[in-house]
Symmetry: C2
Subunit: 299 residues, 2 copies
Amino acid sequence: MNFEKEQNDRIEYIEQILKEYLPEEAGLQKYVIEAMNYSVLGGGKRIRPLLMLETFCLFQKKISKVIEPFMAAIEMIHTYSLVHDDLPAMDNDEYRRGRKTTHVVYGEAMGILAGDGLLNYAYEVACKAFDMGENPVMIADAVKVLARKPGIYGMIGGQVVDVLANGSPLDKERLDFIYKLKTSALIECSMLIGAILGGATKEELEIIEQIASDVGLAFQIQDDILDVTSTLEVLGKPIGSDEKNSKTTYVTLEGLEKSKEDVQMISDRALKNLNMLKLNYKENLFLEELIRRLVSREK
Amino acid sequence: MNFEKEQNDRIEYIEQILKEYLPEEAGLQKYVIEAMNYSVLGGGKRIRPLLMLETFCLFQKKISKVIEPFMAAIEMIHTYSLVHDDLPAMDNDEYRRGRKTTHVVYGEAMGILAGDGLLNYAYEVACKAFDMGENPVMIADAVKVLARKPGIYGMIGGQVVDVLANGSPLDKERLDFIYKLKTSALIECSMLIGAILGGATKEELEIIEQIASDVGLAFQIQDDILDVTSTLEVLGKPIGSDEKNSKTTYVTLEGLEKSKEDVQMISDRALKNLNMLKLNYKENLFLEELIRRLVSREK
Protein backbone atom coordinates (compact mmCIF):
# COMPACT_ATOMS: atom_id res chain seq x y z
CA MET A 1 0.00 0.00 0.00
CA ASN A 2 1.27 3.43 -0.93
CA PHE A 3 -0.12 5.18 2.14
CA GLU A 4 0.68 8.72 1.05
CA LYS A 5 -1.03 8.28 -2.30
CA GLU A 6 -4.09 6.65 -0.76
CA GLN A 7 -4.29 9.42 1.82
CA ASN A 8 -3.95 12.15 -0.80
CA ASP A 9 -6.67 10.58 -2.94
CA ARG A 10 -9.01 10.56 0.02
CA ILE A 11 -8.18 14.12 1.04
CA GLU A 12 -8.88 15.24 -2.51
CA TYR A 13 -12.28 13.53 -2.32
CA ILE A 14 -12.96 15.23 1.04
CA GLU A 15 -12.01 18.64 -0.34
CA GLN A 16 -14.51 18.08 -3.16
CA ILE A 17 -17.26 17.19 -0.67
CA LEU A 18 -16.48 20.29 1.39
CA LYS A 19 -16.72 22.54 -1.65
CA GLU A 20 -19.97 20.87 -2.65
CA TYR A 21 -21.58 21.37 0.76
CA LEU A 22 -20.24 24.80 1.70
CA PRO A 23 -22.74 27.60 1.05
CA GLU A 24 -22.55 29.59 -2.17
CA GLU A 25 -21.03 33.04 -1.82
CA ALA A 26 -24.15 34.96 -2.80
CA GLY A 27 -26.89 37.09 -1.27
CA LEU A 28 -26.73 40.12 0.97
CA GLN A 29 -25.10 37.97 3.68
CA LYS A 30 -22.32 36.99 1.24
CA TYR A 31 -19.59 38.45 3.47
CA VAL A 32 -20.14 36.01 6.31
CA ILE A 33 -20.31 33.13 3.86
CA GLU A 34 -16.93 34.19 2.48
CA ALA A 35 -15.59 34.20 6.04
CA MET A 36 -17.00 30.72 6.64
CA ASN A 37 -15.53 29.33 3.43
CA TYR A 38 -12.19 31.06 4.05
CA SER A 39 -12.05 29.31 7.43
CA VAL A 40 -12.96 25.83 6.19
CA LEU A 41 -10.87 25.92 3.03
CA GLY A 42 -7.70 27.00 4.82
CA GLY A 43 -6.09 23.61 4.59
CA GLY A 44 -5.76 21.20 7.46
CA LYS A 45 -5.34 17.45 7.51
CA ARG A 46 -9.07 16.67 7.36
CA ILE A 47 -8.46 13.99 10.01
CA ARG A 48 -12.04 13.91 11.24
CA PRO A 49 -13.82 13.33 7.92
CA LEU A 50 -11.04 10.91 7.01
CA LEU A 51 -11.59 8.86 10.18
CA MET A 52 -15.35 8.98 9.59
CA LEU A 53 -14.95 7.71 6.04
CA GLU A 54 -12.51 4.95 6.94
CA THR A 55 -14.61 3.76 9.87
CA PHE A 56 -17.59 3.58 7.52
CA CYS A 57 -15.42 1.46 5.20
CA LEU A 58 -14.81 -1.04 8.01
CA PHE A 59 -18.45 -1.98 7.72
CA GLN A 60 -19.31 -1.30 4.09
CA LYS A 61 -17.43 -2.05 0.89
CA LYS A 62 -18.94 0.78 -1.10
CA ILE A 63 -19.03 4.44 -0.07
CA SER A 64 -22.60 5.66 0.30
CA LYS A 65 -23.61 9.23 -0.52
CA VAL A 66 -25.26 9.49 2.89
CA ILE A 67 -21.91 9.88 4.65
CA GLU A 68 -20.97 12.96 2.63
CA PRO A 69 -23.09 15.59 4.41
CA PHE A 70 -21.77 14.29 7.74
CA MET A 71 -18.16 14.50 6.54
CA ALA A 72 -18.77 18.12 5.60
CA ALA A 73 -20.61 18.80 8.87
CA ILE A 74 -17.87 17.47 11.17
CA GLU A 75 -15.25 19.60 9.42
CA MET A 76 -17.51 22.66 9.75
CA ILE A 77 -17.86 22.02 13.48
CA HIS A 78 -14.11 21.50 13.90
CA THR A 79 -13.51 24.73 11.98
CA TYR A 80 -16.02 26.80 13.95
CA SER A 81 -14.26 25.73 17.15
CA LEU A 82 -10.94 26.99 15.75
CA VAL A 83 -12.46 30.29 14.57
CA HIS A 84 -13.91 30.98 18.02
CA ASP A 85 -10.72 29.75 19.79
CA ASP A 86 -8.70 32.27 17.82
CA LEU A 87 -10.86 35.26 18.87
CA PRO A 88 -9.23 38.05 20.91
CA ALA A 89 -11.27 37.11 24.02
CA MET A 90 -9.99 33.53 23.73
CA ASP A 91 -6.47 32.68 22.46
CA ASN A 92 -6.14 35.89 20.44
CA ASP A 93 -4.26 34.18 17.60
CA GLU A 94 -3.48 36.12 14.47
CA TYR A 95 -2.22 33.26 12.35
CA ARG A 96 -3.29 29.67 11.79
CA ARG A 97 -1.63 27.33 9.31
CA GLY A 98 0.32 30.28 7.94
CA ARG A 99 -2.76 32.33 7.08
CA LYS A 100 -4.39 35.20 8.95
CA THR A 101 -7.17 34.02 11.23
CA THR A 102 -10.79 34.66 10.29
CA HIS A 103 -11.41 37.57 12.67
CA VAL A 104 -8.20 39.28 11.54
CA VAL A 105 -9.34 39.20 7.91
CA TYR A 106 -13.09 39.79 8.39
CA GLY A 107 -13.29 41.61 11.73
CA GLU A 108 -14.16 40.35 15.17
CA ALA A 109 -17.96 40.54 14.79
CA MET A 110 -17.77 38.48 11.59
CA GLY A 111 -15.45 36.02 13.36
CA ILE A 112 -18.15 35.40 15.94
CA LEU A 113 -20.93 35.21 13.33
CA ALA A 114 -18.94 33.03 10.91
CA GLY A 115 -18.32 30.57 13.77
CA ASP A 116 -21.99 30.60 14.71
CA GLY A 117 -22.86 30.20 11.04
CA LEU A 118 -20.60 27.17 10.65
CA LEU A 119 -21.90 25.42 13.76
CA ASN A 120 -25.49 26.03 12.73
CA TYR A 121 -24.88 25.15 9.06
CA ALA A 122 -23.28 21.85 10.09
CA TYR A 123 -26.71 20.70 11.32
CA GLU A 124 -28.44 22.12 8.28
CA VAL A 125 -26.06 20.17 6.05
CA ALA A 126 -26.28 16.95 8.10
CA CYS A 127 -30.10 17.06 7.82
CA LYS A 128 -29.74 16.72 4.04
CA ALA A 129 -28.98 13.07 4.79
CA PHE A 130 -32.66 12.61 5.67
CA ASP A 131 -33.51 13.22 2.00
CA MET A 132 -31.28 10.47 0.58
CA GLY A 133 -33.67 7.59 0.88
CA GLU A 134 -31.91 5.92 3.83
CA ASN A 135 -33.46 4.71 7.07
CA PRO A 136 -34.46 7.85 9.02
CA VAL A 137 -33.77 6.17 12.37
CA MET A 138 -30.16 5.53 11.34
CA ILE A 139 -29.74 9.14 10.18
CA ALA A 140 -31.34 10.38 13.40
CA ASP A 141 -28.81 8.32 15.40
CA ALA A 142 -25.99 9.96 13.48
CA VAL A 143 -27.44 13.48 14.00
CA LYS A 144 -27.75 12.77 17.73
CA VAL A 145 -24.04 11.98 17.94
CA LEU A 146 -23.27 15.08 15.87
CA ALA A 147 -25.17 17.15 18.44
CA ARG A 148 -23.82 15.48 21.59
CA LYS A 149 -20.08 15.06 21.08
CA PRO A 150 -19.23 18.65 20.10
CA GLY A 151 -21.38 20.11 22.90
CA ILE A 152 -21.06 20.92 26.58
CA TYR A 153 -20.62 17.23 27.46
CA GLY A 154 -18.01 16.96 24.73
CA MET A 155 -15.74 19.44 22.97
CA ILE A 156 -17.15 22.67 24.42
CA GLY A 157 -16.97 21.16 27.93
CA GLY A 158 -13.26 20.46 27.49
CA GLN A 159 -12.68 23.89 26.02
CA VAL A 160 -14.38 25.55 29.01
CA VAL A 161 -12.16 23.77 31.55
CA ASP A 162 -9.10 24.67 29.48
CA VAL A 163 -10.09 28.35 29.26
CA LEU A 164 -10.93 28.54 32.98
CA ALA A 165 -7.51 27.12 33.93
CA ASN A 166 -6.09 30.19 32.20
CA GLY A 167 -2.53 28.91 32.36
CA SER A 168 -2.51 27.89 36.05
CA PRO A 169 -1.33 24.37 36.92
CA LEU A 170 -3.86 21.60 36.30
CA ASP A 171 -4.41 18.46 38.36
CA LYS A 172 -4.59 15.07 36.64
CA GLU A 173 -8.41 15.01 36.80
CA ARG A 174 -8.70 18.29 34.88
CA LEU A 175 -6.00 17.41 32.36
CA ASP A 176 -7.69 14.07 31.61
CA PHE A 177 -11.05 15.83 31.30
CA ILE A 178 -9.65 18.35 28.84
CA TYR A 179 -7.87 15.71 26.73
CA LYS A 180 -10.87 13.40 26.76
CA LEU A 181 -13.30 16.13 25.75
CA LYS A 182 -11.40 18.76 23.84
CA THR A 183 -9.48 16.37 21.60
CA SER A 184 -11.15 12.97 21.74
CA ALA A 185 -14.79 14.05 21.56
CA LEU A 186 -14.71 15.06 17.88
CA ILE A 187 -12.66 11.94 16.99
CA GLU A 188 -15.30 9.83 18.74
CA CYS A 189 -18.00 11.80 16.93
CA SER A 190 -16.38 11.13 13.55
CA MET A 191 -15.74 7.42 14.03
CA LEU A 192 -19.13 6.77 15.67
CA ILE A 193 -21.01 8.44 12.81
CA GLY A 194 -18.99 6.44 10.28
CA ALA A 195 -19.87 3.25 12.16
CA ILE A 196 -23.56 4.13 12.59
CA LEU A 197 -23.97 4.88 8.88
CA GLY A 198 -22.01 1.72 8.09
CA GLY A 199 -24.56 -0.31 10.06
CA ALA A 200 -22.48 -1.25 13.12
CA THR A 201 -24.17 -3.05 16.01
CA LYS A 202 -24.43 -1.57 19.50
CA GLU A 203 -21.47 -3.67 20.68
CA GLU A 204 -19.39 -2.60 17.70
CA LEU A 205 -20.24 1.05 18.39
CA GLU A 206 -18.88 0.68 21.90
CA ILE A 207 -15.61 -0.71 20.60
CA ILE A 208 -15.37 2.05 17.99
CA GLU A 209 -15.96 4.70 20.66
CA GLN A 210 -13.17 3.19 22.77
CA ILE A 211 -10.79 3.13 19.81
CA ALA A 212 -11.61 6.75 19.00
CA SER A 213 -11.14 7.82 22.60
CA ASP A 214 -7.72 6.13 22.66
CA VAL A 215 -6.69 7.64 19.34
CA GLY A 216 -7.56 11.12 20.59
CA LEU A 217 -5.74 10.64 23.87
CA ALA A 218 -2.60 9.11 22.33
CA PHE A 219 -2.56 11.88 19.70
CA GLN A 220 -2.68 14.51 22.43
CA ILE A 221 0.02 12.91 24.60
CA GLN A 222 2.25 12.56 21.55
CA ASP A 223 1.78 16.29 21.01
CA ASP A 224 3.11 16.95 24.52
CA ILE A 225 6.06 14.58 23.95
CA LEU A 226 7.04 16.24 20.68
CA ASP A 227 7.07 19.65 22.36
CA VAL A 228 9.90 18.31 24.56
CA THR A 229 11.78 15.93 22.26
CA SER A 230 11.48 17.31 18.75
CA THR A 231 13.37 20.11 17.05
CA LEU A 232 12.21 23.30 15.42
CA GLU A 233 13.29 21.87 12.04
CA VAL A 234 11.25 18.69 12.30
CA LEU A 235 8.18 20.15 14.01
CA GLY A 236 7.99 23.33 11.94
CA LYS A 237 7.12 25.32 15.05
CA PRO A 238 9.10 26.31 18.17
CA ILE A 239 9.58 23.48 20.66
CA GLY A 240 9.55 23.93 24.43
CA SER A 241 6.54 26.26 24.22
CA ASP A 242 4.67 24.29 26.90
CA GLU A 243 7.52 24.72 29.39
CA LYS A 244 7.92 28.36 28.44
CA ASN A 245 4.20 28.95 29.12
CA SER A 246 4.36 26.88 32.35
CA LYS A 247 1.66 24.74 30.80
CA THR A 248 0.59 21.55 32.54
CA THR A 249 0.89 18.67 30.08
CA TYR A 250 0.87 14.91 30.27
CA VAL A 251 4.68 15.06 30.25
CA THR A 252 4.92 17.55 33.15
CA LEU A 253 2.52 15.43 35.23
CA GLU A 254 3.75 11.93 34.34
CA GLY A 255 7.32 12.43 33.13
CA LEU A 256 8.69 11.76 29.64
CA GLU A 257 9.31 8.01 29.98
CA LYS A 258 5.88 7.21 31.40
CA SER A 259 4.30 9.40 28.71
CA LYS A 260 6.08 7.43 25.97
CA GLU A 261 5.04 4.15 27.53
CA ASP A 262 1.44 5.33 27.81
CA VAL A 263 1.25 6.43 24.18
CA GLN A 264 2.50 2.99 23.21
CA MET A 265 0.09 1.20 25.52
CA ILE A 266 -2.93 3.29 24.46
CA SER A 267 -2.24 2.98 20.76
CA ASP A 268 -1.59 -0.76 21.06
CA ARG A 269 -4.96 -1.06 22.77
CA ALA A 270 -6.65 0.90 19.98
CA LEU A 271 -5.07 -1.29 17.29
CA LYS A 272 -5.94 -4.47 19.20
CA ASN A 273 -9.57 -3.32 19.38
CA LEU A 274 -9.52 -2.48 15.69
CA ASN A 275 -8.26 -6.00 14.97
CA MET A 276 -11.12 -7.47 16.95
CA LEU A 277 -13.49 -5.74 14.55
CA LYS A 278 -11.46 -6.92 11.57
CA LEU A 279 -12.44 -10.48 12.43
CA ASN A 280 -15.89 -9.63 11.18
CA TYR A 281 -15.20 -7.23 8.39
CA LYS A 282 -12.82 -6.70 5.58
CA GLU A 283 -9.47 -5.45 6.66
CA ASN A 284 -8.94 -1.76 6.60
CA LEU A 285 -5.20 -1.52 6.38
CA PHE A 286 -5.43 2.15 5.59
CA LEU A 287 -7.27 2.96 8.84
CA GLU A 288 -4.79 0.87 10.81
CA GLU A 289 -1.85 2.69 9.27
CA LEU A 290 -3.57 6.08 9.69
CA ILE A 291 -4.04 5.47 13.41
CA ARG A 292 -0.46 4.24 13.75
CA ARG A 293 0.82 7.39 12.08
CA LEU A 294 -1.44 9.75 14.04
CA VAL A 295 -0.15 8.52 17.38
CA SER A 296 3.50 7.87 16.55
CA ARG A 297 4.06 10.83 14.27
CA GLU A 298 7.22 12.89 14.57
CA LYS A 299 5.59 16.20 13.72
CA MET B 1 -61.43 34.46 27.76
CA ASN B 2 -59.18 35.96 30.40
CA PHE B 3 -56.17 36.42 28.08
CA GLU B 4 -53.68 37.46 30.77
CA LYS B 5 -54.47 34.44 32.91
CA GLU B 6 -54.27 32.05 29.97
CA GLN B 7 -50.98 33.59 28.88
CA ASN B 8 -49.52 33.38 32.38
CA ASP B 9 -50.53 29.74 32.70
CA ARG B 10 -48.79 28.93 29.46
CA ILE B 11 -45.67 30.89 30.35
CA GLU B 12 -45.49 29.02 33.64
CA TYR B 13 -45.67 25.74 31.70
CA ILE B 14 -42.92 26.94 29.35
CA GLU B 15 -40.68 27.96 32.27
CA GLN B 16 -41.11 24.45 33.67
CA ILE B 17 -40.12 22.90 30.34
CA LEU B 18 -37.08 25.14 30.11
CA LYS B 19 -35.93 24.14 33.59
CA GLU B 20 -36.49 20.49 32.75
CA TYR B 21 -34.42 20.64 29.56
CA LEU B 22 -31.63 22.98 30.62
CA PRO B 23 -28.44 21.13 31.59
CA GLU B 24 -27.76 20.38 35.25
CA GLU B 25 -25.18 22.64 36.86
CA ALA B 26 -22.64 19.90 37.57
CA GLY B 27 -19.29 18.61 36.33
CA LEU B 28 -16.01 20.40 35.76
CA GLN B 29 -17.68 22.47 33.03
CA LYS B 30 -20.31 23.69 35.54
CA TYR B 31 -19.35 27.35 35.10
CA VAL B 32 -20.42 27.52 31.46
CA ILE B 33 -23.65 25.69 32.29
CA GLU B 34 -24.38 28.31 34.94
CA ALA B 35 -23.77 30.98 32.30
CA MET B 36 -26.13 29.23 29.89
CA ASN B 37 -28.87 28.87 32.49
CA TYR B 38 -28.39 32.45 33.70
CA SER B 39 -28.96 33.61 30.13
CA VAL B 40 -32.05 31.51 29.43
CA LEU B 41 -33.72 32.02 32.80
CA GLY B 42 -33.38 35.81 32.69
CA GLY B 43 -37.05 36.36 31.94
CA GLY B 44 -38.37 37.32 28.56
CA LYS B 45 -41.81 36.88 27.08
CA ARG B 46 -41.18 33.35 25.74
CA ILE B 47 -42.96 34.43 22.55
CA ARG B 48 -41.31 31.78 20.36
CA PRO B 49 -42.17 28.68 22.42
CA LEU B 50 -45.62 30.20 23.02
CA LEU B 51 -46.26 30.60 19.28
CA MET B 52 -44.94 27.06 18.69
CA LEU B 53 -47.27 25.64 21.29
CA GLU B 54 -50.33 27.54 20.11
CA THR B 55 -49.71 26.69 16.47
CA PHE B 56 -49.48 23.03 17.49
CA CYS B 57 -52.85 23.48 19.24
CA LEU B 58 -54.41 24.66 15.97
CA PHE B 59 -53.97 21.14 14.70
CA GLN B 60 -54.17 18.97 17.84
CA LYS B 61 -56.51 19.08 20.80
CA LYS B 62 -54.07 17.56 23.26
CA ILE B 63 -50.51 18.73 23.91
CA SER B 64 -47.99 16.04 23.00
CA LYS B 65 -44.72 15.60 24.90
CA VAL B 66 -42.86 15.66 21.59
CA ILE B 67 -43.22 19.42 21.28
CA GLU B 68 -41.48 20.10 24.60
CA PRO B 69 -37.84 19.57 23.54
CA PHE B 70 -38.47 21.84 20.54
CA MET B 71 -39.98 24.55 22.76
CA ALA B 72 -36.86 24.44 24.91
CA ALA B 73 -34.60 24.36 21.84
CA ILE B 74 -36.07 27.43 20.16
CA GLU B 75 -35.70 29.47 23.35
CA MET B 76 -32.07 28.31 23.67
CA ILE B 77 -31.39 29.44 20.10
CA HIS B 78 -33.10 32.79 20.66
CA THR B 79 -31.07 33.23 23.86
CA TYR B 80 -27.72 32.31 22.27
CA SER B 81 -28.35 34.98 19.63
CA LEU B 82 -28.90 37.59 22.37
CA VAL B 83 -25.78 36.48 24.31
CA HIS B 84 -23.60 36.81 21.21
CA ASP B 85 -25.32 40.08 20.16
CA ASP B 86 -24.45 41.61 23.52
CA LEU B 87 -20.71 40.81 23.24
CA PRO B 88 -18.24 43.72 23.16
CA ALA B 89 -17.37 43.06 19.50
CA MET B 90 -21.07 43.24 18.61
CA ASP B 91 -23.51 45.61 20.40
CA ASN B 92 -21.43 45.78 23.59
CA ASP B 93 -24.48 45.83 25.85
CA GLU B 94 -24.01 45.62 29.60
CA TYR B 95 -27.64 45.19 30.56
CA ARG B 96 -30.56 43.22 29.19
CA ARG B 97 -33.98 43.10 30.83
CA GLY B 98 -32.53 44.91 33.84
CA ARG B 99 -29.84 42.30 34.52
CA LYS B 100 -26.17 42.29 33.65
CA THR B 101 -25.48 40.55 30.36
CA THR B 102 -23.85 37.11 30.34
CA HIS B 103 -20.36 38.23 29.34
CA VAL B 104 -20.39 40.96 31.99
CA VAL B 105 -21.13 38.40 34.71
CA TYR B 106 -19.09 35.44 33.41
CA GLY B 107 -16.41 37.09 31.28
CA GLU B 108 -16.14 37.48 27.53
CA ALA B 109 -14.69 34.03 26.79
CA MET B 110 -17.54 32.38 28.70
CA GLY B 111 -20.01 34.63 26.88
CA ILE B 112 -18.78 33.20 23.58
CA LEU B 113 -18.71 29.62 24.88
CA ALA B 114 -22.10 29.86 26.63
CA GLY B 115 -23.61 31.06 23.35
CA ASP B 116 -21.94 28.24 21.44
CA GLY B 117 -23.09 25.83 24.14
CA LEU B 118 -26.71 26.98 23.88
CA LEU B 119 -26.81 26.77 20.08
CA ASN B 120 -25.27 23.31 20.13
CA TYR B 121 -27.37 22.10 23.07
CA ALA B 122 -30.55 23.19 21.28
CA TYR B 123 -29.93 20.46 18.70
CA GLU B 124 -28.96 17.96 21.37
CA VAL B 125 -32.24 18.67 23.18
CA ALA B 126 -34.35 18.63 20.00
CA CYS B 127 -32.93 15.19 19.13
CA LYS B 128 -34.51 13.82 22.32
CA ALA B 129 -37.77 13.99 20.37
CA PHE B 130 -36.55 11.03 18.30
CA ASP B 131 -36.82 8.86 21.44
CA MET B 132 -40.47 9.61 22.17
CA GLY B 133 -42.04 7.00 19.96
CA GLU B 134 -43.26 9.40 17.29
CA ASN B 135 -42.78 9.16 13.52
CA PRO B 136 -39.05 9.81 12.89
CA VAL B 137 -39.77 11.45 9.53
CA MET B 138 -41.97 14.05 11.23
CA ILE B 139 -39.31 14.73 13.87
CA ALA B 140 -36.66 14.97 11.16
CA ASP B 141 -38.79 17.57 9.35
CA ALA B 142 -38.97 19.62 12.54
CA VAL B 143 -35.19 19.33 13.14
CA LYS B 144 -34.57 20.47 9.55
CA VAL B 145 -36.57 23.65 10.17
CA LEU B 146 -34.75 24.15 13.50
CA ALA B 147 -31.46 24.02 11.60
CA ARG B 148 -32.47 26.16 8.61
CA LYS B 149 -34.38 29.14 10.00
CA PRO B 150 -31.82 30.29 12.60
CA GLY B 151 -28.90 29.90 10.19
CA ILE B 152 -27.19 31.91 7.49
CA TYR B 153 -30.31 31.84 5.31
CA GLY B 154 -32.34 32.92 8.33
CA MET B 155 -31.56 34.73 11.56
CA ILE B 156 -27.75 34.83 11.26
CA GLY B 157 -28.07 36.13 7.69
CA GLY B 158 -30.19 39.04 8.90
CA GLN B 159 -27.83 39.71 11.77
CA VAL B 160 -24.86 39.85 9.41
CA VAL B 161 -26.46 42.48 7.16
CA ASP B 162 -27.44 44.49 10.23
CA VAL B 163 -23.90 44.36 11.68
CA LEU B 164 -22.31 45.23 8.33
CA ALA B 165 -24.53 48.31 7.95
CA ASN B 166 -22.89 49.52 11.16
CA GLY B 167 -25.25 52.44 11.56
CA SER B 168 -25.03 53.77 8.01
CA PRO B 169 -28.30 54.39 6.14
CA LEU B 170 -30.00 51.29 4.74
CA ASP B 171 -31.92 50.99 1.49
CA LYS B 172 -35.36 49.34 1.47
CA GLU B 173 -33.94 46.05 0.13
CA ARG B 174 -31.54 45.72 3.08
CA LEU B 175 -34.08 46.79 5.67
CA ASP B 176 -36.61 44.26 4.37
CA PHE B 177 -33.92 41.58 4.35
CA ILE B 178 -32.96 42.32 7.97
CA TYR B 179 -36.59 42.39 9.18
CA LYS B 180 -37.50 39.26 7.25
CA LEU B 181 -34.50 37.29 8.53
CA LYS B 182 -33.48 38.74 11.86
CA THR B 183 -36.96 38.94 13.33
CA SER B 184 -39.31 36.79 11.26
CA ALA B 185 -37.06 33.75 10.78
CA LEU B 186 -37.33 32.50 14.37
CA ILE B 187 -41.08 33.23 14.45
CA GLU B 188 -41.44 31.19 11.25
CA CYS B 189 -39.26 28.50 12.80
CA SER B 190 -41.46 28.33 15.89
CA MET B 191 -44.81 28.27 14.12
CA LEU B 192 -43.64 25.84 11.42
CA ILE B 193 -42.35 23.35 13.99
CA GLY B 194 -45.61 23.61 15.93
CA ALA B 195 -47.52 22.93 12.71
CA ILE B 196 -45.26 20.07 11.58
CA LEU B 197 -45.57 18.30 14.93
CA GLY B 198 -49.31 18.97 14.87
CA GLY B 199 -49.56 17.12 11.57
CA ALA B 200 -50.22 20.03 9.19
CA THR B 201 -50.33 19.38 5.46
CA LYS B 202 -47.87 20.95 3.03
CA GLU B 203 -50.46 23.58 2.03
CA GLU B 204 -51.17 24.40 5.66
CA LEU B 205 -47.45 24.74 6.34
CA GLU B 206 -47.21 27.34 3.59
CA ILE B 207 -50.03 29.36 5.14
CA ILE B 208 -48.48 29.08 8.60
CA GLU B 209 -45.13 30.28 7.24
CA GLN B 210 -46.85 33.28 5.64
CA ILE B 211 -48.67 34.11 8.89
CA ALA B 212 -45.42 33.85 10.87
CA SER B 213 -43.56 36.03 8.38
CA ASP B 214 -46.29 38.68 8.65
CA VAL B 215 -46.35 38.52 12.45
CA GLY B 216 -42.58 39.04 12.60
CA LEU B 217 -42.69 41.92 10.14
CA ALA B 218 -45.65 43.69 11.77
CA PHE B 219 -44.03 43.23 15.20
CA GLN B 220 -40.85 44.86 13.95
CA ILE B 221 -42.59 47.79 12.25
CA GLN B 222 -44.63 48.37 15.41
CA ASP B 223 -41.34 48.53 17.30
CA ASP B 224 -40.21 51.33 14.99
CA ILE B 225 -43.53 53.18 15.39
CA LEU B 226 -43.39 53.01 19.19
CA ASP B 227 -39.90 54.47 19.19
CA VAL B 228 -41.45 57.61 17.63
CA THR B 229 -44.92 57.76 19.20
CA SER B 230 -44.65 56.29 22.68
CA THR B 231 -43.39 57.83 25.90
CA LEU B 232 -40.64 56.78 28.27
CA GLU B 233 -43.30 55.97 30.89
CA VAL B 234 -45.29 53.61 28.69
CA LEU B 235 -42.37 51.96 26.89
CA GLY B 236 -40.11 51.61 29.93
CA LYS B 237 -37.11 52.60 27.82
CA PRO B 238 -36.03 55.88 26.21
CA ILE B 239 -37.96 56.77 23.04
CA GLY B 240 -36.42 58.47 20.01
CA SER B 241 -33.34 56.26 20.22
CA ASP B 242 -33.58 55.34 16.53
CA GLU B 243 -33.50 58.99 15.47
CA LYS B 244 -30.70 59.72 17.94
CA ASN B 245 -28.63 56.88 16.43
CA SER B 246 -29.56 57.98 12.86
CA LYS B 247 -30.91 54.46 12.45
CA THR B 248 -32.81 53.57 9.29
CA THR B 249 -36.19 52.15 10.27
CA TYR B 250 -39.43 51.38 8.51
CA VAL B 251 -40.70 54.76 9.78
CA THR B 252 -37.74 56.76 8.43
CA LEU B 253 -38.09 55.06 5.02
CA GLU B 254 -41.90 55.01 4.67
CA GLY B 255 -43.11 57.71 7.05
CA LEU B 256 -45.25 57.27 10.16
CA GLU B 257 -48.66 57.15 8.47
CA LYS B 258 -47.68 54.58 5.87
CA SER B 259 -45.99 52.50 8.61
CA LYS B 260 -49.19 52.46 10.66
CA GLU B 261 -51.24 51.52 7.60
CA ASP B 262 -48.81 48.73 6.76
CA VAL B 263 -48.87 47.25 10.27
CA GLN B 264 -52.65 47.19 10.01
CA MET B 265 -52.62 45.66 6.55
CA ILE B 266 -50.01 43.02 7.40
CA SER B 267 -51.64 41.98 10.64
CA ASP B 268 -55.08 41.86 9.00
CA ARG B 269 -53.58 39.56 6.37
CA ALA B 270 -52.09 37.33 9.08
CA LEU B 271 -55.41 37.08 10.92
CA LYS B 272 -57.29 36.43 7.69
CA ASN B 273 -54.91 33.57 6.90
CA LEU B 274 -55.31 32.23 10.43
CA ASN B 275 -59.07 32.25 9.94
CA MET B 276 -58.69 30.27 6.74
CA LEU B 277 -57.07 27.53 8.81
CA LYS B 278 -59.75 27.77 11.44
CA LEU B 279 -62.24 26.47 8.90
CA ASN B 280 -60.60 23.10 9.28
CA TYR B 281 -59.60 23.07 12.89
CA LYS B 282 -60.86 24.09 16.25
CA GLU B 283 -60.66 27.78 16.88
CA ASN B 284 -57.65 29.04 18.66
CA LEU B 285 -58.88 32.29 20.09
CA PHE B 286 -55.80 32.57 22.25
CA LEU B 287 -53.45 32.51 19.26
CA GLU B 288 -55.59 35.06 17.45
CA GLU B 289 -55.54 37.40 20.44
CA LEU B 290 -51.81 36.80 20.97
CA ILE B 291 -51.04 37.82 17.40
CA ARG B 292 -53.32 40.85 17.68
CA ARG B 293 -51.54 41.96 20.83
CA LEU B 294 -48.04 41.32 19.46
CA VAL B 295 -48.58 43.60 16.50
CA SER B 296 -50.71 46.32 18.07
CA ARG B 297 -49.01 46.48 21.43
CA GLU B 298 -48.24 49.81 23.04
CA LYS B 299 -45.00 48.73 24.66
